[in-house]
């Protein structure tokens, strides 16, 4: 006999609201005249706001739902807000982008909303099957989004690549789940940690399961050596979608990684520690070194996002409440600066994304000082200069790492961030130190885009200068995970 309590529904209220709006936007899409499709974007934004309100309601009723498969705890609520923030900024940044590229279809917004639903479920699930479902929901939406510039060959390539490698990754993850179930007889994370308490229980099979699940997630995190798809997909996908892809699924995968490696598999100890250590080191180094040679801004940002995954992994490897809260803080900082940068790139690129080379930004600073200053803030924040969110994110992550005696890894990460300064500054150099006129200077930024950019820039400085509240929230959000 199955019973359903209201509490269960309240605990997934944000997801329900998002789904309703997603389906509504989709069904309404054929009924809306071509000239009015913008309205669907605003409706989707309304959905995001409604979900944010619903999350407040959810936070009053924390606890497990649906037989312990979903947890509405501080951790998941933190992530839900992060995803809603990302989705909101992406929608704001997309409306005019789609208009300009003649791709104004309501499905775009529906897919963003439904993808967000999947990510929310990934972060909130405490059961491997539910995690897998969330992973699939978010993946399938993003596969389609990646190919949204239908007439563009690169976009098609991106969608196909993302789809093939993504399915491959979910297969790995599912295979890992099967192993775990075979070993322990449960897919519940709490049950798992109860059954894998002793290090002696970490047999070869258990380790294989751990590695398989890590590989599955590593594709989404784009950590080395599972990052090969990232540059092509980020380059080919429409820039606002890239903004979404580079933050949403990555953050969701980090949520799962934290729940798994520091929760269910906490007793794996050295095995998971070394997996994290090695992939953090490789990811940082390769991401940064490869980014040095890029001339396409989108590819450059793709490699930079790989490198950032490496820094965040340092925090995961550090573990403990410090490490987790640092990772959570970093993810918000990363969301703001990456989404901001990609939205700016999307709008500077003109119709059909023609202007995405670094030299297309030549002399931008003196034609459009505000635009250039904005972009400079995003890049300086990505580079980790103080007073920006990027600096404090790194600062907290490295503090946690030093606390866990990961001195070698921290020094490596710090040197890596020096390397990264070089390529982030290449764009600043082009904008400020080279003379020339650029077509990118002629683009107009409509007010929704300006709003999204303003939110990102202000957020970056807010996190960088007065981090008391966000840091408190991230510390709070780290509480539900076992230490």
């Amino acid at each position: 006999m199955i019973t359903l309590q209201t509490a269960d529904l309240v605990r997934i209220l944000p997801e329900i609201v998002l789904s309703i709006f997603g389906i509504l936007v989709m069904v309404l899409e054929p009924f809306v005249a071509a000239a009015q499709k913008k309205l669907l974007g605003w409706m989707a934004l309304l959905g995001v706001l409604a979900a944010a309100t619903a999350t407040v309601r959810t936070s009053f009723e924390p606890g497990l739902a649906f037989g312990g498969t979903i947890a509405a705890d501080e951790f998941s609520i933190y992530f839900i807000y992060l995803f809603l923030l990302t989705a909101g900024l992406v929608i704001l940044g997309s409306i005019d982008y789609l208009e300009r590229n003649h791709a104004q279809h309501g499905e775009f917004y529906a897919l963003v909303l439904l993808g967000t639903v999947g990510m929310c479920f990934m972060a909130a699930s405490t059961d491997l099957i539910m995690i897998f479902l969330g992973l699939e929901i978010s993946s399938i939406s993003t596969y389609i989004l990646a190919g949204f510039r239908r007439a563009d060959r690169l976009s098609n390539e991106a969608a196909l690549k993302y789809f093939l490698l993504g399915s491959f990754a979910t297969a790995f993850f599912l295979y890992g789940i099967a192993f775990v179930y075979g070993l322990t007889g449960t897919t519940n994370l709490l049950g798992l940690s109860a059954r894998l308490m002793e290090p002696s229980q970490w047999t070869t099979f258990a380790r294989v399961a751990l590695v398989l699940m890590f590989v599955g997630l590593a594709f989404k995190l784009s950590t080395v050596p599972f990052q090969v798809w990232t540059p092509d997909v980020y380059q080919g996908a429409p820039a606002p979608v890239t903004a979404f892809l580079s933050v949403g699924p990555k953050a969701a995968a980090f949520a799962v990684l934290l729940r798994l490696f520091l929760g269910g598999f906490a007793s794996a100890g050295t095995v998971s520690f070394w997996i994290l250590w090695i992939s953090a080191a490789l990811t940082m180094c390769l991401g940064n070194l490869a980014a040095l040679w890029q001339t396409n801004v989108k590819r450059l940002l793709a490699y930079s996002s790989i490198a950032h995954a490496g820094y965040i992994l340092v925090g995961v490897a550090a573990g403990g409440s410090r490490g987790i809260s640092a990772v959570l803080f970093y993810l918000v900082a990363y969301a703001l600066m990456n989404v901001g940068a990609f939205i700016m790139v999307a709008h500077l690129s003109g119709t059909g994304e023609r202007l995405v080379q670094i030299e297309d930004y030549t002399g931008l600073a003196f034609e459009r000082p505000g635009v250039a200053a904005c972009l400079a803030v995003f890049f300086l924040s990505l580079a980790g200069f103080p007073t920006t969110a990027g600096f404090l994110g790194k600062f907290y992550v490295f503090r946690a790492a030093i606390h866990s005696h990961l001195i070698g890894l921290t020094v490596l990460a710090l040197l890596n961030s020096v390397v990264s300064v070089y390529y982030y500054l290449r764009i600043v150099v082009a904008m400020y130190m080279r003379e020339g006129k650029t077509e990118a200077a002629t683009v107009e930024l409509p007010w929704p885009v300006r709003t999204a950019l303003a939110v990102s820039v202000l957020g970056i400085f807010y996190l960088g200068l007065a981090p008391k509240l966000p840091l408190g929230l991230s510390t709070l959000a780290a509480l539900p995970l076992p230490k």
């Binding site: 103080p386 503090r399 020094v411 008391k468």
Partner: protein, 513 residues
């Protein structure tokens, strides 16, 4: 007034930034109001630093004008400002040089004027912040933030290879500071605080720090500062940055930014890691002396005036480092004095070279000759500044170098001998340069009709020369203000191994002359 006294350091630090904000809101075409706002703002800042200088109680050890506010709770990062004799002088120097830089750029910066002065003012906030911070993280924040305006100053208004120089400058400094950040985090992990006085307390009252850890930490901090100074093997960014930077950039770079390295050594390396400082002292002294000799020799063969001055900075900063690492009062006070006077005289040299460049758009020594007849006023100023830079008695350069040589003699006679050789070499390259540029016949016809200094330039140079002479004749007030700070730093270094027994306060030495 009491409100001002309580927040004086904050106001001094952020006042230039306020000016930058004002400039940001001024129209792009209103260049003259931009200039006047910049000048006014930096002058007011200078007046405030002078006020700080006179309000400073030189009999008290420890920090003054302290301000403390909680910035972040976990980890506990605080907004903690304060000055002692050491940072007071450097803040004064910053306050002094920035309005001069504004004046120097008055007519030579013709494009993107607004942005130029905006960055210059932002830079001043960063610099003062570095000297005033007493929290390790706050210090690091200012230390890094200050790089960005300097980077833009070099990169936008520099000469031909400006982008290369700007990127090299920022990457070198950031490599060092990355290591320093690791060191700061490690220290925090040991002591649980980023507050410098508290960290010092923890390290002196407990034995948290094992000798190998102390040595690693010393290196992490020291390399960051050594790159900034720059000490001999880390100096390669300096000639590029100096040569490519606009005049004001060079003045600030030589005058203030390089001092951040030596300041950091005095403020962090020595007090935090006394044992390691002693362990590494011979190596550091050797590097400093190599820097002195090498800088002088390379300066001698430079065909480019600005490069010559740049390499002379390597040599002069070698003196500063040497003075610090001989661990006695004379050496250290001499070193601090030398920081200040190098800021004034090398800053002035860069201004003079800049003025020449504005007229001729070249800095090659071979292009000049016989300028003494065509621009007599300029030549006179140049001579005085050159003499001050090579350490002529009665001028400012002498006091610092003399004290450093005396100090190093106490430590090891060989150091003193080699350093003195450096002084001789400085005389050689500076006077030889002066002779080639100003004496002889006018070889290039373009030099015959050069206009001499205008009123603005005369004003700048007169101020500088007055300071040069005043500092050379009457160094006592400056030395008195650093006595207590130097004594407390030395006390830390010598606490366990009392090697050096004679501890006459150097103030008396200064008074003796």
């Amino acid at each position: 007034m009491s409100w001002f006294t309580e927040h004086s350091l904050t106001i001094v630090t952020f006042f230039p930034l306020l000016g930058a904000v004002v400039i940001a809101f001024l129209g792009r075409d209103r260049t003259s109001s931009v200039r006047w706002v910049a000048l006014l703002c930096t002058l007011l800042t200078f007046l405030m630093t002078v006020w700080l200088y006179f309000e400073f109680d030189s009999h008290r050890a420890g920090m003054q004008f302290e301000e403390f506010r909680i910035w972040m709770v976990l980890p506990p990062v605080n907004y903690h400002l304060g000055v002692d004799g050491l940072s007071l002088l450097l803040i004064l120097l910053t306050g002094f040089l920035t309005p001069l830089s504004v004046l120097v750029s008055w007519s030579s910066i013709t494009h993107r004027t607004k942005e130029f002065f905006l960055f210059l003012l932002a830079l001043e906030t960063g610099m003062i912040g570095v000297f005033a911070s007493l929290d390790l993280v706050l210090f690091f924040v200012f230390w890094e933030v200050m790089l960005i305006p300097m980077y833009f100053l070099i990169g936008i208004w520099g000469h031909e290879r400006r982008v290369y120089a700007a990127v090299k400058f920022i990457l070198y400094t950031m490599t060092g500071s990355a290591l320093m950040l690791a060191g700061i985090l490690y220290l925090y992990n040991l002591t649980g605080t980023f507050d410098l006085p508290q960290v010092l307390d923890h390290l002196t009252t407990t034995s948290l720090l094992s000798p190998p850890a102390e040595r690693w930490l010393f290196l992490a901090f020291f390399v960051a500062f050594a790159i900034k100074v720059p000490l001999f093997p880390f100096h390669t960014w300096l000639p590029d940055a100096h040569v490519e930077a606009p005049t004001a950039g060079s003045v600030i770079l030589a005058g203030v930014l390089l001092k951040m390295g030596t300041y950091g050594m005095l403020r962090f390396c020595l007090p935090l890691f006394p044992e390691a400082s002693r362990d590494f002292a011979p190596i550091v002294c050797a590097l400093a002396i190599i820097g002195i000799i090498y800088g002088a020799l390379v300066a001698m063969v430079q065909p480019d005036l600005k490069k010559l001055v740049a390499y002379s900075s390597v040599a002069h900063l070698g003196f500063c480092v040497l003075g610090i690492f001989v661990f006695n009062a004379q050496g250290m006070e001499g070193s601090i004095y030398q920081m200040f006077s190098h800021g004034v005289s090398t800053g002035a040299l860069f201004m003079l070279v800049g003025m020449l460049y504005d007229r001729r758009h070249t800095r090659l020594i071979s292009e000049f000759g016989g300028l003494a007849t065509s621009v007599p006023v300029y030549s006179t100023f140049f001579l005085i500044v050159t003499l001050s830079s090579l350490g002529l008695p009665m001028l400012n350069g002498f006091v610092g170098e003399f004290l450093i040589i005396v100090g190093s003699y106490h430590s090891r006679a060989l150091y003193a001998a080699l350093a003195a050789a450096g002084v001789v070499l400085a005389a050689v390259y500076l006077l030889w340069m002066y002779q080639r540029v100003f004496y002889g016949d006018i070889t290039n016809e373009k030099n015959r009709t050069l206009p001499d200094c205008n009123l603005r330039e005369k004003l700048i140079l007169t101020i500088v020369v007055v300071v040069i002479v005043a500092m050379g004749v009457y160094p006592q007030p400056f030395l008195r203000r650093m006595d207590q700070s130097v004594a407390s730093i030395l006390q830390r270094v010598e606490k366990r191994t009392l090697l050096f027994t004679e501890r006459a306060p150097a103030g008396h030495l200064g008074a003796g002359r």
